[in-house]
């Protein structure tokens, strides 16, 4: 039974015209209480957050008030925008249009709908600009673009309602900051419109409601309980779990057998590369010739839409997908979810599971396929958390300042901005309620001309001050800005053009691939893309040309992204399970054996203390500290310990972090950790060590892109080799030297301190585990250390080790041949 609870006040049910009731009845449904409450909220004009489990008619609840309002309102003679729907995913807008089209058609409602995303064709864009639909479905980026046009005030003036879907998925990141500013702007343009937020079940509804409502007033909350708990199990694979890594190869047959039992299955993986790889592996054993597809964000729009339609019409038995399919989409016939790899968070797992069996009162079914024993433990903890109703707590942080810069330029593109009004508008977005005047001035100065301390070239301007406020300095600047709107910074990408054969002259674009990956390809090299193996031919007209290659083992595109941090709740839970054999019962037998092996070979991590293991692996000394404290603590600890190591001459090479452990590679052995794992490492001067770290340079690259210092793609400009390698690192180095207090550097430092490191929690932890450290030196890596060691994404240390490695490369460049050659080279000159 569904039950509605109200946190703030008793909500009334709104009036729904008979026509609508009849329609619901004809579908064999009835209008649910909370759907009526949304109608009432609309009548009262209250911003409202609707939290409901998947499959409960949540989307319809968001749109029902608008449908009724347009139905009962005066005949719309001039077309004007009534409702704006904002979705985090492009695919979702197509899906919503499909689902809304039916009641609109059946009821004969005088409603026009339009989709505006990056996929929308120029012809439709233009039409929407002149004749707005009643309901416009869009993404945050496309909305911001619409807001940058000069006609934005007129275009949005008629707005009555904004529906933000899947609010939980982006409210707590930069994309959420960005969206909150767009919402603030809409409030200025159409002060009386209502905001509706739709969200899956979350830990802290109040915070989400604050975010939605803005600084002035939090939104009301309608929370629908009554999920049917899902059926969850961990796969019992035929073969052994690999000890580390994230490949599902060992379980392909098991996965295939599960697909055979389902009508339609979605196989979720964590990265695009994993998707391509698993898809290949499944087809290799696809004896029954099942229709199995692959889906991820790098595929072209046509490919994605084709797959979506095949699933929707029940013609696909399974699709291997990244998170691109994990939200909202109503796939009626999906009856099985397979989750490959660790779920990383309870909410994320629930979201994915929710893709199956879209009826609220029947349980969804999901099978978890961990790819190593530690992930198996994580899966078991997640299943238990779901059973007990736990949800991850999201961190609502302060809005990022780089996003403000982009916003200011966006504002200036559409018309003059006055400082005071702009600041007020920005502060009305809840992530920015604390934005200070001084910071704002610096951000505006950067938006204007870079805001540098020394100005030796003053002709450059992005914004132009006039007596009535700032305006964009030129059309070129506006164009440049519009091409770079957004907060999702990705590596530069090239289009992939599929040629029928090496001799073909023409081909068609099937998607995009990272430039970084392409640089390492030589003609003839094969890679998996869009579900087939392609051979690389070359780059022509800014696209990678490739033709189908005979099925060989491909190199897999190395997509970045997909490195999802684990929720701290799961990390804690995993430690608890590991530390005590009593808690192992729910684990697959293999995993229990693995843990016993750990116990015999080394130690189990103590629930209160910390286990550190040192061993020699190939040519390096490795120290693994099993903190179970999450990435931010491990990152901070990594910087501090390596700094201390550098001082002690241990020559750290690099470190890697997982949610569970910190792994440091050194050139000299670590024999004693008493002065490494101690609170006094916090006294090390971290400032310089971090400022020069690649980690901060990486975040600077993203900040520089969002703030418009560099761009993802230069409009109409073909980049030459030299420009490709001209990196933001060079800019960073010069800025640090000549303008160390520059606003962008400050943002990069603050972001590192707040989002990448957690010094406060580290301090607390170091005190807690003092005198409870177990240090073991081992002949080789322990079972528990192997997953940590196989983690990718090393943080290189800029220290003595670097010089030593260059020296070694120089001295024994492939077995000493090198020095002789240098010698020969020199000798030949002497003669």
């Amino acid at each position: 039974m569904l039950d509605t609870s109200q946190t703030d006040k008793r909500l009334r049910e709104g009036v729904v015209p008979q026509l609508f009731d009849n329609w619901f009845e004809k579908q064999g449904w009835s209008i649910r209480g909370y759907q009526r409450e949304m109608v009432s909220a609309f009548e009262r004009g209250d911003d409202t957050l609707l939290i409901a489990p998947t499959g409960g008619g949540k989307t319809l609840a968001g749109f029902l008030p608008s449908l009724i309002d347009i139905h009962s309102g005066p005949k719309n003679t001039n077309s004007a925008l009534h409702t704006l729907y904002i979705s985090p995913l492009r695919a979702l807008t197509n899906d919503i249009e499909r689902n809304l089209a039916r009641p609109v058609r059946d009821l004969g409602l005088p409603i026009t709908m339009g989709i505006r995303t990056g996929d929308t064709k120029p012809y439709h864009r233009k039409k929407q600009q002149t004749v707005p639909p009643d309901i416009l479905l869009t993404t945050p980026e496309s909305l911001m673009l619409l807001l940058s046009y000069e006609n934005a005030p007129a275009y949005f003036a008629s707005l009555k309602c904004v529906v933000i879907d899947e609010l939980h998925s982006f409210a707590t990141n930069k994309r959420g900051d960005f969206t909150s500013l767009a919402l603030a702007r809409l409030k200025t343009l159409a002060p009386d419109h209502i905001r509706f937020g739709l969200s899956a079940t979350i830990a802290e509804p109040k915070k989400a409601a604050d975010w939605l409502g803005g600084t002035a007033r939090a939104a009301e909350i309608i929370e629908v309980k009554g999920d049917t708990p899902p059926h969850l199990e961990i796969i019992e694979p035929e073969s052994q779990f690999p000890l580390g890594g994230h490949s599902a190869r060992f379980a392909v047959k098991d996965i295939y057998r599960k697909i055979l039992t389902a009508k339609t299955a979605i196989v979720f993986v964590n990265t695009r590369a994993q998707a391509e790889l698993l898809f290949q592996q499944l087809w290799k054993i696809n004896e029954s010739n099942l229709s199995i597809g692959v889906y991820h964000g790098s595929l072209s729009r046509e490919r994605r839409q084709k797959t979506e339609n095949l699933i929707a019409s029940g013609q696909m038995r399974a699709v291997v997908s990244t998170s691109a399919l994990e939200m909202g989409i109503d796939w009626g016939d999906v009856d099985l979810i397979l989750q490959i790899g660790a779920p990383k968070g309870v909410s994320r797992l629930l979201q994915r599971i929710g893709r199956s069996n879209h009826r609220m009162d029947e349980p969804s079914k999901a099978i978890l396929v961990p790819t190593n024993p530690l992930e198996a433990v994580e899966c078991a903890v997640a299943i238990e958390a779901i059973r007990t109703g736990h949800r991850d707590g999201d961190v609502y942080r302060r809005g990022s300042m780089d996003v403000v810069i982009q916003y200011l330029v966006n504002r200036a593109c559409s018309g003059k901005i006055k400082k005071r009004e702009a600041l007020k508008e920005i502060r009305s977005a809840s992530p920015y309620r604390h934005l200070g005047k001084a910071d704002f001035d610096e951000l505006l100065a950067f938006a204007e001309d870079g805001g540098y301390a020394l100005k030796n070239y003053s002709r450059f301007q992005r914004l132009k001050p006039t007596s009535k406020g700032y305006t964009i300095a030129s059309n070129q600047q506006a164009r440049r800005h519009r091409m770079n709107i957004g907060t999702i910074v990705e590596f530069a990408k090239l289009k992939v053009r599929r040629m029928a054969s090496p001799k073909s002259k023409r081909g068609r674009i099937i998607g995009e691939i990272e430039e970084k990956f392409v640089i390492n390809l030589r003609p003839g090299d094969t890679f998996a893309f869009g579900g087939e193996v392609l051979a690389y031919q070359g780059i022509r007209e800014m696209a990678v040309e490739a033709y189908p290659a005979p099925r060989s083992r491909p190199r897999i595109p190395a997509y970045a992204g997909g490195m999802m941090p684990l929720s701290s709740y799961l990390a804690e839970g995993v430690k608890e399970v590991l530390s005590d054999p009593q808690n192992w019962q729910g684990l697959p037998q293999q995993v229990q054996n693995w843990l016993r092996l750990q116990k015999d070979f080394s130690e189990l991590p103590d629930h209160h203390g910390v286990l550190a293991e040192a061993f020699f692996d190939r040519q390096d000394h490795v120290l693994v500290v099993h903190t179970f404290e999450g990435r931010k603590v491990n990152n901070a600890l990594g910087f501090l310990i390596t700094k201390r190591m550098e001082k002690k001459g241990l020559k750290p090479v690099n470190f890697t972090i997982t949610d569970y452990a910190l792994t440091i590679t050194t050139l000299n052995p670590v024999n004693n950790i008493s002065d490494l794992l101690t609170p006094n490492i916090l006294d090390e001067d971290l400032e310089n060590w971090i400022v020069n770290s690649p980690m901060v340079k990486r975040s600077f690259r993203k900040i520089a892109t969002i703030a418009g210092l560099t761009e993802q793609r230069l409009p109409g400009q073909q980049r030459t080799m030299k420009q490709v390698t001209f990196s933001t690192d060079l800019i960073y180095d010069v800025l640090i030297k000549y303008d160390p207090d520059h606003i962008l550097l400050r943002i990069a430092r603050e972001e590192a301190e707040n989002d990448l490191l957690d010094i406060g929690r580290l301090r607390h932890w170091l005190k807690e585990v003092r005198n409870q450290t177990v240090f073991r030196t081992l002949p080789h890596a322990s079972p528990l250390s192997i997953p940590a060691m196989m983690q990718i994404g090393r943080e290189p240390i800029r220290g003595e080790a670097e010089a030593q490695m260059l020296m070694e490369a120089s001295r024994d460049n492939r077995g000493n041949a090198m020095l002789e050659k240098v010698q020969d080279f020199v000798d030949s000159r002497v003669k």
């Binding site: 030129s474 490369a809 080279f825 030949s828």
Partner: protein, 230 residues
């Protein structure tokens, strides 16, 4: 015979044209004619990108390049400095050069007996009012100093710029990408000196076709120079 010393800030050795010193600060020195060599300064590249890329880029690159060149002159106290072309990023660079930077460059030029601007493809002219000689090429004994790779006389060595060589050094633990000197018996290509200059991998045909026979690369580290075979 001299053996290259490893892991030092400088590397001194004898080529078929004579003695040369390679410095990890991306410069070379010819002891015989007391000449300091730098290539591809690309002054005002930042302001060029700012104007053409419409981006609010910081333009401290010229100041930084000047500062590092001044340091080198103080260390080597050369009679002559030769900038091997592409000293200015574009022909309008002089218009964007700040008064301070303009004066500093002139002071540097006047601080040595000879300052030679070898002209490159980016800078067929040197901004009006700047001191120093302008040359298409220069000779120092059997060394031929040019911007583009140019063949020397028999037994000579061409020292040039233009190509911005970079080398990828993959050790088992990590890959490092470093600017480098790229050389074969008759040619040494200098790394680019400008603060905002990127590089081209030594495997690129533009570089590899200029090196005949046995190659040697000298990678520039943060604190030293390292010899690597081809």
């Amino acid at each position: 015979m001299s053996i290259p010393e490893l892991n030092k800030t400088r590397l001194e050795f004898l080529t078929q044209a004579g003695q040369i010193v390679l410095d990890y600060r991306k410069a070379a020195f010819l002891p015989q004619c007391e000449t300091l060599l730098v290539a591809d300064l690309h002054f005002e590249k930042g302001s060029y990108l700012q104007a053409n890329g419409l981006a609010p880029l910081p333009t401290y690159d010229t100041a930084d390049t000047i500062e590092r060149l001044t340091d080198l002159i103080a260390i080597y106290r050369p009679k002559r400095v030769a900038a091997l072309g592409d000293s200015f990023h574009d022909t309008a660079a002089g218009d964007r050069l700040s008064k301070t930077d303009f004066n500093t460059i002139n002071r540097i030029v006047e601080s040595v007996s000879d300052f030679v601007w070898i002209l490159g493809n980016h800078d067929p002219d040197i901004p009006i009012g700047l001191a120093g000689m302008q040359e298409d090429h220069m000779e120092c004994g059997k060394f031929l100093l040019t911007h583009l790779p140019t063949n020397p006389i028999k037994g000579g060595v061409n020292i040039c710029g233009h190509l911005h060589p970079k080398i990828r050094i993959t050790t088992r633990r990590r890959t490092q990408i470093r600017p480098c000197f790229a050389s074969s018996s008759a040619r040494i290509i200098l790394p680019s000196f400008g603060a905002y200059t990127g590089g081209l991998n030594i495997d690129h045909s533009a570089i590899s076709k200029e090196l005949i026979g046995e190659r040697c690369y000298f990678a520039v580290g943060r604190d030293g120079i390292y010899a690597l075979s081809g």
